[in-house]
Subunit: 155 residues, 2 copies
DNA sequence: CGGGCACACTTGAGAGTTCAACCAATGCAG
DNA sequence: CTGCATTGGTTGAACTCTCAAGTGTGCCCG
């Protein structure tokens, strides 16, 4: 169903320029990170799964929690985890406290892969973003994205 | 082929926090924009195609130019344009000056769709980004993304 | 002028994602 | 307790994207 009757508050020219630069910049950032990770057979989504699993003491996390942290739909996560399971990067184990639950757990192989990929990934993040911008702008980026994340949902 | 022997220059804790906020923030921004555009049967990629076509006097543009502007692979653009053509949003016409070339041209319907969707899209951009951040941080975002885009390719 | 390389775009198959059911366990209301 | 909405996760089909290969045109160099 299409929304109707909006009073258009257009963006100023300067705002439009910034917005387009945002689209180009993020496009480039994600493209380069994906390209770099491809050498390890991963994409950014999978890499983030590894990172969040490894953040936890036992390298395991419930599917739904993981889905929230990596901002993927449950369905997508199920499929992705299945693929990664087939590659021996992680396993699924039953959740002890809730019989509906499933936990994804990093295998040793999966952890080793993360350890191998991480330095290259970090280097990419530096090369494409951190090292090419003014430190104070980078700080501002953090403030800005913090505000975006905390803004109320308002579906 | 995997890259080898990297000296890891890790990110500081503050930098990591900013980086994760960047991932979350952009994730949210794109998710909301896509959700809003879905009511018009579009996603952000298709919407950008409409915008760039409408930027030109005749509402037409060569495929490869368009591909560059929207940062999509030629292959992807071919598929997307085919789909949009099937929906009567645009047409393909032969390029007069180069027989290899193809131009995508907005139909009246396609232009009408853009006109209808645009105000809602702009409103989304405001709601999810422009209106929730400090103006000076938004300016900084522009500066920062400008630097990212202009940074040398260094494959 | 003609051989060959580069460019513009398309194609099709495989890989990944989305969307709408679906099943099973939980938990709360009466 | 029992009924029923909710939550957690999966499934499969339809759709989209990627990657490598293919077609046809332009252009340069001898």
């Amino acid at each position: 169903m299409r929304p109707t009757s909006i009073k258009p508050r257009w963006l100023s020219t300067e705002q439009q320029v910034i917005w387009r630069q945002f689209l180009s910049g993020t496009g480039r950032i994600f493209a380069e990170l994906d390209a770099e990770l491809r050498s390890f057979g991963l994409d950014l989504g999978e890499y983030e799964i590894l990172v969040h699993l490894s953040d936890n003491p036992d390298h395991e996390l419930r599917m739904s929690e993981l889905a929230d942290k990596v901002r993927q739909s449950r369905s997508r996560l199920t499929h992705t985890v299945s693929r990664m399971e087939a590659k021996n990067i992680l396993t699924r184990i039953a959740c002890p406290s809730d019989r509906r639950g499933v936990m994804a757990k990093l295998t040793d192989e999966g952890y080793a892969l993360l350890v191998e990929a991480a330095p290259h990934h970090v280097e990419s993040v530096r090369r494409v973003l951190v090292d090419v911008v003014e430190p104070e702008d980078f700080i501002a980026l953090g403030r800005l994205m913090g505000a975006v994340v905390q803004a109320p949902e308002q579906s």
